[in-house]
């Protein structure tokens, strides 16, 4: 079977959808952050595939590289915040971090 652009796009779209589902259904804060990473990686697959099959040059790859670095930074900040939540709430279940309501 010949691998074409559409295969990559389907993988990218699936990763994006899995990410959204993970974010909305997970109760564990670390799981939610993993969902965010899936969304970013879905976009990365698209960038690399479009760059290879359609656009040419390296601009898509460079975009993806920047996103990888930022995803790492975001994970670091996110995990630090999860740690702070654990220290104050004694749990990282996002359902319990819900004090503020109108």
């Amino acid at each position: 079977m010949q691998i074409s652009l559409s295969h990559f796009l389907i993988v990218g779209a699936l990763l994006f959808c899995f990410g959204l589902v993970t974010v909305t259904t997970r109760r564990n804060a670390v799981g939610v952050l993993m969902g965010v990473e899936l969304i970013l990686n879905g976009a990365n697959v698209n960038f690399a595939a479009f760059n290879h099959y359609v656009v040419g040059g390296v601009s898509g790859q460079i975009f993806a590289l920047f996103v990888i670095v930022l995803a790492a930074a975001e994970a670091a900040v996110g995990l630090a915040i999860v740690l702070a939540v654990f220290q104050t709430f004694k749990t990282i279940d996002v359902r319990y971090a819900d004090l503020m309501r109108e």
Partner: protein, 517 residues
Amino acid sequence: MTNLLSLVDVNLASAASFRPELALTFGTMAMFILDLFWKNHPARPARLATGALLVLGVAAALLVSQPTAPGSLFNGMIATDGFATFFKWLFLLAAGLTVLISAPGKDFPPARLGEFYALLMAMVLGLFLMASATDLLMVYLSIELVSLVSYVLAGFKKGDRRAAEASLKYVIYGGVASGVMLFGMSYLFGLLGTTSIGQLAGRIQHLQASGLPAAATKLTLVVAMVLITAGVGYKIAAVPWHMWCPDVYEGAPTPFTAFLSVGPKAAGFAVALRLFYGALSGPSAVTAGFGEAVGGLPWPAIIGVMSVATMTLGNLTALAQTNLKRLLAYSSIAHAGYLLMGLSAASDRGVQAIMIYLLIYVVMNLGSFLVVILVAEATGSESILDYRGLAKRHPLAATAFAVFLFSLTGIPPFAGFVGKWYLFVAVLDRVPGPGGNWYAVLAIIGALNSAVSLYYYVRVVRAMFIDQPYAEPRQAPATPLMYQLLLSASAVAVLVFGLWWTPMIDWTSASLQIFKG
């Protein structure tokens, strides 16, 4: 190899017009180091605040000396133009006021004030880049730089449950919103083959002539643009991406909430204006109507619907709030809705109206939050009950707050009226044109919303001036001189600019040039 060397030359030449940003970069590092040097100094807050103001001052001085001719830097990544410069001044003003507000307050213990200032400088750098980004990559990077700092600062209070919750909600919402925006950008990149904002409109027209199936390309374009709008909409707290806003505003330290409500919102509008107005409105924008396609996308209509939803939801929810920080959070959502009216008008007048409104909004909103800080330091609470009888306890704060609240409503002779007037004029200008009826509907809904907002703003004014105190007031601590000065200055500014607004008009019309690449 020669090719690479020429790129290096471009970057070195660009650095000459990049000095304010460089000053902020080095200023951030310097603040982190100074923070360590002055660890146990008795006058620590004053010294740190002076240092932070010095960094902002150097950036401002370099901004003044910068060449004003519009140009492109770093191979099309960012632009220097009057539009960006205007927003940079706005950020410097907001950051300077925030530094002054946070120095004497109790929200930041002196031991941790240094890191707050350092992170604030990093955030201002991100805002500068947002206002001048002309490439999708740069838009994404600068939004993330601002967001990452915001997540940290929202949870700045250690061991505070509301702060921890606020930053958790913020990082999850923000991460998803920017991820969704990135996914939209990837489709746009694949479809148009470029990440340069200036080339988008041309490529879209090229695409329409290229013979690809029209329905499919248009659908993909609309999906990509809607996804990108999610990222921008989250920064300006527009419905349906506003959910983080009240919780983060409530949990974050109040001086930072004040900055968050003006800085990133203005930067979000700068990105939106560059993207939707600067790039996607070709020459057809003047003739195209509300529901018409501009660059193949009916974006004025989409923005108009967003505007109505944002201001209506913000105002209606604000009616039920009893916590002042949450009330101001919903009010800031409503103000994002008014501002979106100017974007929906898709005209130079609309852009100018947004700039005028943001300028006034910075002063009146920071002033309002300053009163919230003052009352919270005296009573330890942000409930509206503690504002009862404020006019007797603290006449200056009560009077200034009344001025800010009436200005936020948009009542003459306060500055907020001037801002709203220009927004409505920009929308009404489009009524005789194509799709004019929809613009008329937008203006009517905007006017009705202003009437609704009067109700909850006046509720606070009534509590301060008419209602009896809820509890016998404790001996309130003396108000720092800095707060009294800032309050008076902001209130006077709101009054003066409500009566004498020509300088603002001149400045914004001179700043209207958007670099289009």
